[in-house]
């Protein structure tokens, strides 16, 4: 049994190890995709054969605050040379924060042949594995995705409002200071995006990175994850859970953990998150400072 299989995850095959990736670099059935917060990382060196998917330029609509549409996803899939049969393997910086975000967007278009490299870029680098600056090119493919499905894993503001009124669980994955409402302004200028500080009423605070082993960026095992989300916070796999952060990126990491590693049946990512909620007129807010 591999290390990942031994950790007790409900859907362990959603993760692959760095060793596995290293031994599948030239396998055409897989496409390795790097997604980072820092746009300088991929050009500074990446896993041989990996393509870059950048959240600002590839995954977001250039004008509206929304994700790309079907035509945009088809074009992206064609550019990186994948078909529906290609298994995409995401990895990136910040403990795979952006990798899970890209993974989540790919699920909006039903590309379920998707995995995440456990430990991300940090573990790959720490193991001294090869990085290259050579940007690969793959023959363009013809890809026809279904229309984006926003109903299963994505939550909108009014749905979250109904969720709050129903007393259903929410997970706020921001830092404790953001959750409490203490942190509203950075030195010298107002914190971008939110006029009000605090959290959505009823939300539990679980900073996203608690799911990670900080030394190598790997996910904690199922026992440790359950201790956090279930032991401390009282969530259950059958719960209807909404996760949020500031713009929906960190919460996609928690969505991934709850959905795949712990097997929760209904978890949605509220990508409007605090930048929408904290600016909305009339929505309820709780503060703990």
């Amino acid at each position: 049994m591999s290390d990942i299989q031994s950790r007790g995850y409900v859907k362990a095959d959603v993760l692959v190890s760095t060793e596995w990736v290293a031994s599948n670099l030239n396998n055409p059935a897989y496409r390795i995709i790097e997604s980072n917060e820092d746009p300088l990382l991929y050009p500074s060196g990446h896993i041989p054969g990996a393509v870059q998917v950048d959240w600002t330029t590839d995954l977001n609509d250039p004008l509206r605050r929304d994700y790309l549409d079907k035509a945009g996803f088809d074009a992206l899939a064609s550019r990186i040379g994948i078909t529906k049969d290609t298994t995409v393997i995401f990895y990136g910086d910040k403990n795979n924060w952006w990798a899970t975000y890209a993974f989540w967007v790919f699920q909006l278009f039903g590309h379920t042949n998707a995995k995440v490299m456990d430990g991300g870029r940090l573990k790959w680098e720490k193991e001294g594995r090869e990085l290259t600056r050579e940007v690969p090119t793959y023959p363009a493919t013809s890809y026809s995705a279904p229309e984006r499905d926003d109903t299963q894993i994505r939550a909108f503001r009014d749905e979250v409002l109904a969720h709050v009124k129903a007393g259903l669980p929410l997970v706020d994955v921001r830092s404790p200071d953001e959750f409490s409402g203490k942190k509203l302004h950075m030195e010298g200028y107002p914190q971008e995006g939110a006029l009000r500080g605090g959290h959505i009423p009823g939300a539990q605070s679980v900073p996203w990175a608690r799911a990670i082993n900080p030394d190598d960026g790997t996910f904690k095992n199922a026992v440790d994850l359950k201790a956090i989300y279930e032991g401390e916070k009282g969530l259950k796999p059958t719960d209807d859970v909404v996760a949020y952060c500031r713009i929906g990126e960190r919460s996609s990491h928690t969505w991934f953990v709850l959905t795949y590693l712990l097997g929760y049946q209904k978890v949605r990512n509220y990508d409007g998150s605090w930048t929408e909620w904290g600016n909305s007129v009339g929505v309820p807010i709780e503060k703990s400072v």
Partner: protein, 146 residues
């Protein structure tokens, strides 16, 4: 931009003329490669660093220090604890190379807008906040000595 330190104004103009995303990235990586030259020496600070030097909202764990030169100008030092924080390293190098030794009024009059000129308008919200935080810390050190 007219009141920025001259070297910074030139650099900002250089970056504003770059329209190719890859070319911009290459230039910034080249700059980040010089980070060791601006890294805080043990004579100024050792880990664990005093939290008062931490840049707020910087996900790359950046820190800024300033020491006074005999002529009253400042010498800036930086550290970026996240080894993957290349953008934070690049802006640290840029600020040290263009603001150390410059009149305090020039440094105090910087604008966080330089982040968008240097990194491009598509810089992410989180990334932008951290990078602007580094600029703000450098400006704050100059302002409080004016």
């Amino acid at each position: 931009m007219a009141n920025y330190p001259a070297k910074l104004a030139e650099l900002v103009e250089d970056f504003e003329s770059i329209t190719n995303r890859n070319e911009r990235a290459e230039y910034l990586i080249e700059i980040a490669d010089r980070f060791s030259s601006v890294k805080v020496p043990a004579s100024i600070a050792t880990k664990p660093y005093d939290e008062s030097h931490r840049v707020p909202a910087c996900e790359s764990d950046a820190f800024v220090w300033a020491t006074e030169n005999p002529d009253g100008t400042l010498k800036y030092y930086f550290d970026v604890l996240n080894p993957q924080g290349l953008s934070a390293m690049a802006i640290s190098v840029i600020l040290e190379e263009t603001c150390s030794g410059r009149p305090l009024r020039e440094v105090a009059a910087l604008s966080t807008e330089i982040i968008f000129s240097i990194f491009g308008r598509e810089v992410s919200m989180g990334k932008g906040q951290g990078l602007m935080g580094i600029v703000n810390m450098v400006m704050a050190e100059a302002k409080r000595r004016l």
